[in-house]
Structure formats: structure tokens, C-alpha cells
Symmetry: C2
Subunit: 407 residues, 2 copies
Amino acid sequence: MKIITPHYIMLRDRVVANLSVAFDKQIQKIAPFEELIEEFPDAEVTTLREHSLLMPGLINAHVHIEFSKNKTELSYGDFLNWLYSVIENRADLINDCDKECMSKAIERMLEGGITTFGAISSHAMDLEACAKAKQNVVFFNELIGSQANMADALFSDFTARLDASKTIKREGFYPAVAIHSPYSVHPILVKKAVEIAKNENLKLTAHFMESIAEREWLDEDKGDFKEFFDKMLSQDKSVTSAEEFLEYFEGTDTLLTHVTNANEEEIRTIAKNNLTVIHCPISNRLLGNPTLNIKELNKNNIRWVVATDGLSSNYDLDLFEEMKISLFMHSDAPLQKFAQALINGVTIDAAEALGLNTGVIEAGKNADMIVVDLESEPTPELAVHLILHRYNISKVYINGKLEKGEA
Amino acid sequence: MKIITPHYIMLRDRVVANLSVAFDKQIQKIAPFEELIEEFPDAEVTTLREHSLLMPGLINAHVHIEFSKNKTELSYGDFLNWLYSVIENRADLINDCDKECMSKAIERMLEGGITTFGAISSHAMDLEACAKAKQNVVFFNELIGSQANMADALFSDFTARLDASKTIKREGFYPAVAIHSPYSVHPILVKKAVEIAKNENLKLTAHFMESIAEREWLDEDKGDFKEFFDKMLSQDKSVTSAEEFLEYFEGTDTLLTHVTNANEEEIRTIAKNNLTVIHCPISNRLLGNPTLNIKELNKNNIRWVVATDGLSSNYDLDLFEEMKISLFMHSDAPLQKFAQALINGVTIDAAEALGLNTGVIEAGKNADMIVVDLESEPTPELAVHLILHRYNISKVYINGKLEKGEA
């Protein structure tokens, strides 16, 4: 057992002072230190400095570890140009991102207080790095392929990767399923993969309505994707409609990434099916996509969480940076309230969306916790200042184990 | 004479490689190294590392040095609440910000590549720190006071400060005039101050149309400012209209800060009079003000520049951060083009707006230059990457003198 005494603790709905936390792999009890040490006299005790804040570890629900090599290689500003640049540079980027490159990205997330991440794995090149990561990992094996004649081959590649990820037996590693997108996965494959996820109770995610090109292609078989599919795959029609695609996820608790071009009907379907939306503001802006309409999501009581996407469309994998950018992009949202929603979107809401027993400092939850070195007493505007000032993160605990900082 | 050989040089309209720059206080010549060393055989030679980029020093046209103490003291999210919190904390913030605090803020700007700044000085508490700063400083003595019966006293305080700033005789220090705003300065005072600025050829600046409260107060003597003026100054009417205020600046090349609530007519007046708009995106968002309509400014060929405002409404004084936030806030602007406009807005456009012979690497310009350590060869998307990656700034030259980095 360990007892930690920070100056302040961020609980579910308030910040408290003068309390300590007793934990092993899970948080056991939150109470005054005297009470805890009496109950756990052999506990290892850590007392933190003035103005230290213990808060839940951050959860990055959507990141592409395999693309961590990109810095200036890919073209930004227009989705299709970016996609062409990904295809052109794909082999180089993937091959140049060896285990060290991927581990560096994972380590960078740890430094930034990320204790859980959802890795979208295209090729399973990141399986080993994710297996060895200190963080909790939801390992989303991604299925892609819009051509019926390739369906069997692509599906067996997908199941082979999924099976490989199931052989990883370690605490906090969860094999899962990603469907690339409505435009890039044939309905036959979508159905089969969703079936597997349902039967095996695996977490599901999909990109959905990221670009205007996707909207136009799915709705009317036209737009920027027309030339792309013609050139790349000799395909002249989309394999599905957006609404049809969404229907496959009924009865699942899928996380949909981007959703920046969803129409009203789709928003209603997402709400009805209790799906979660993953908000990647930096990626959306850099690829020339619209900004997520969070006001509309809130109106429909749709849960949304915040993620970095990969370094293929970001300059960092830092959720504090991501929240800050979102805070400024949604400049008409009420500042304090929106800042708190962002914090929730990388902690408790993300944990609930991923079905993980974490994301909040509370007895019974996994002890995924970070220590943030504030510089003064928290004000009622703490959420804003946490996002703006990128305070030093001096300790990171994952499942009760100190993974960053000194004991 | 010095000769510097970076890997790349950012010129007015392109990036070049394999050239060197000969300079003393001013840039003398840009040419291949062999040519320069033949012409200036006694020059002190500096050869920089691979992927180093020489670019113009940055210009921060609007900053309140006296308010550098704030970190979490002021209330964010709503302009009037912020203003009340400024008034409540004013004495503490100003008194606690001693010379060291102000010098630290100035030093922080130097670290961030800022070689020129426009200091809005409310109380001349920052005069000494600005006089001693390594940067070029346009020292804007600010005039404030809406009550006619206080006009003489306030004006003589203002002229005393202005006169004190004129006693500073050092290269790169420019005494100047700031009019606080249309709602806070009586027209009699505005006229007198503008007259002085015109006669003495001093640079002029003013806050203009920052908040919705300002709009409503100036237009209709109502809104959030009604209670404020009633309570604070027993004043029930605004002292001027926005249009009347703007007219006083005809024939000047004033810089107007914020302009986030200007109407079409005012935009036309600003365009007609060739005034410059100062864009402070972080400040605007944090104080609950709208985002500057840059599309409208561009349509009207109004020059706009980028500035940090003070630490009273920012978490840093870093123009790279400010540009990045603007790039994301204006998320529907074309990425590459807008990034280049932002770079211009902290270099050449800001220099022109302030009437300074700097802001571009060109023979005859003051040698205000910074060295940015890129990590690879610049792509055509350099402007975006400069803004996103916050590369290390290894050297800062001001008027030819190395003020940061090793010789």
C-alpha cells in the first residue's frame, strides 16, 4: 500500500485540500493522512510539495503510433493533398519509424501525463512498442479495404493482427477493433468486424465524416474523392452511405473520430446509439477539415472526448496542448465551462467511453494519477489555468506504479 | 563588420540557401560568402549549423509590461469581470511587479526572438526596464481619463510621463503616445494628445472596439459598461462615439488594438485612413471578446499585425505561440497563406506599421535578426512549420549586436 499526500486533489466534481490517497493498483481510500496511516501503518508514504495537485492521468483515445516519424514530410492544409502525401511517403514514414521512434512517441505521452492511450494500428508495426508501453493501451487493430475482391485477403490480415494482439497478456493492454472509415471499408468487412467485436466484447472505433470530400463522396459519389478512388482503386462509387455505415454500429458503444461533417440526421443517430465522438482539433485544422460542432453534440447529449490523432497530423502528442488549441478554436464557448468539459474529455469521459475503470480519483478506480506542480493555490478558474499554463508534471502513476518522477 | 553564414535565409518573398549576410548595425550586403569576405576581409565571421535559418527578428507591437505579474490573479472569460478584477488587483499587481519582474518579461521576449516591442505604459513604472531593454522599444505613454473635470490633471500626468520618456537617449528607443480607448478618454484629451503626436512625429496607438460592452456603451450608452461607469465614475453617458473617436486619427498612421467589434462603417474609415489593426487573439479569447474578422480586414486592404497584449490577458509573451493560436482560431483561413500572413504580421508588416527600418533581411535595414534551428530542409510549407514547431532560437541580433546566443 502507498499513501500520497498532495496539497490538493482533483475529485470528480471539486478540488479538495488536506486529504491523502491510499492506493495499491487501485485507489483504496481518500481521507486525512492520520486516518489512512492508522489504517495502513506499513504504507509507503509520499508527501508532495506546496501547491502540488493530484489529478487523474490523461487518456488519449486516438493516436497513430506507426506514423510518429512525420514532422514536415506530409502536406498540410487540404485533406486530399495530405492523403496523397501520406500515400507517397507511407513506405518511408513507416519504415523509418522503428521501435525507438515509436517508443519515443509513447514516452513523450507519458511525460505529458498520458496514462492510457488508444493506438490505431494499421500494420501492427506498433504492437511490440505498445505491448512494452508503461501506459494502459487499447490496441485498435484497424481494418481497411473497400474492394469486394480483396475482402477475404484483407480480412484475414486483420484477424491475424487481432489475434497477435490477443497474445499480449499484460495488465492494462486491451485488444480492440478499428474500422478505418465508411469510404474505405466494404460493408461486408464492416459487418464481420463489428460481429467479432460484439461477440468478443472488444472496443470499437472508426473514423467518421472527417472531410468535406468524404461527405460528397458518400452522399453523391463526387467531390475530391472521385478522382482519388478512380486513380487509386478504379472505383467509381462509394461502397456505402454514411447512414448505412452508422447502422452497423447499433448496439455497440463505438467511438467515432472527427465527425466534423456529420449532418443532423447522423448526429441524431449517434445520439440515439450512445456513441462517443473523438475530437481531434489540431488534426482537423491542419488537414483543412472543419471544426467539430461541439455545441450541437452538447445539445444532443453526445459524449465527446479529446485526442491528439497521430504525428501524421499533429506537431506533438500532448493533451494539454490539444485542450488549449480546442479552447481557442471554440472561442465562442463559455471559457470556464468549456475548459472543464475539455478536462473531463481527457479523463472521466474518455475512461467511460473506453469502458475503463479509471479517469477519476475515487476509491475503487485504477490508480492512474498524475501530479501537477501548480504555482499557487487553485482558483475557481483552475481548469482554464491547467490548460493554459502547461504546469510541470512531476509524477505519473499507472495502475499504482510510479512510472515518471522520483519516489 | 560581421559576416554570418546560415544554411538558409528568409528574404522578403523567398527562402534562399548558400548566401551570407554582411552587417554592422545595419545589413550591408547579402551575397555568397566568398564575395563578402573579399569585400570585407576583416569581418568577424560566424558560420552556422546545418538547417539554421536566419530570419527577421520578431516585432511585438502591443504589450503591457507593467502587468507582468499576473498569472492566475485576474478573472478570465468575461470582459467586464476581467476589468473589475484588474481594478481590484491593480495595486497589488503593479506594486508586486518590480523591475526584476518586468525585466524577466522583457528577457522572455528576447528568448522568444522578439527584437522590437511596443510597450503600452500606464504609469511609467516600466520606463527604466524598457530603457535598459536590449530590444528596440516603442514606448507608448498611455493617456486615460473620461471625466472633463479631471482632464487637466490627467493630461499633465501624461505629458510628464511623455517628457520623462523623451529623456531616454539610446539607439532603438522611441517615445510614443497611446490613447487608452474611446470609452475611457475624453475627446478634449484625445485631441490634445493626437496634436502632440502629430507635431512631434510620435507614433500613436489606441485600443478600439475590444468588447461588446464597448460597442453597446459607445452606440447606445447601455450594456455592461453602464453599471461600470455609473459605479466607478458616476458617468451615465459615453464621452464619444466610435466614429467620432476614429476621426481624430485622420492623417495619422495609428495602430488600433483589437477592433473585434468594429462595424462596417468603422472598417471603411480604418481602411480610408490607412490605420493598422493589432490582432491579439489570445487576449481576445481569454477576455470573452470576439475573434478579429481578418477576412474583412483583408477585403478592405487593412494592414494587420500580431501582438501578445500583456500578461494580464496572456499566459506568455511569445509571438510564435500567438501566431499558432491565431492559425487555429482562424480555422477556415487557407493554412499556408494565412501562416505566411502571420509571419509577415510579426516582421515586415509590424515594422512598417511602427515606421521602423527593420522587419526584413535586406541591405539597408537594421540588423534585427534571429537564427532558428530548423531540423530539416525548409519545404514550401515553412511558414506553417515555423509556427507549429517552435524551433529553438539560438541567436538574436539587435541592431547588429548579438544579444542572445554565443558568438
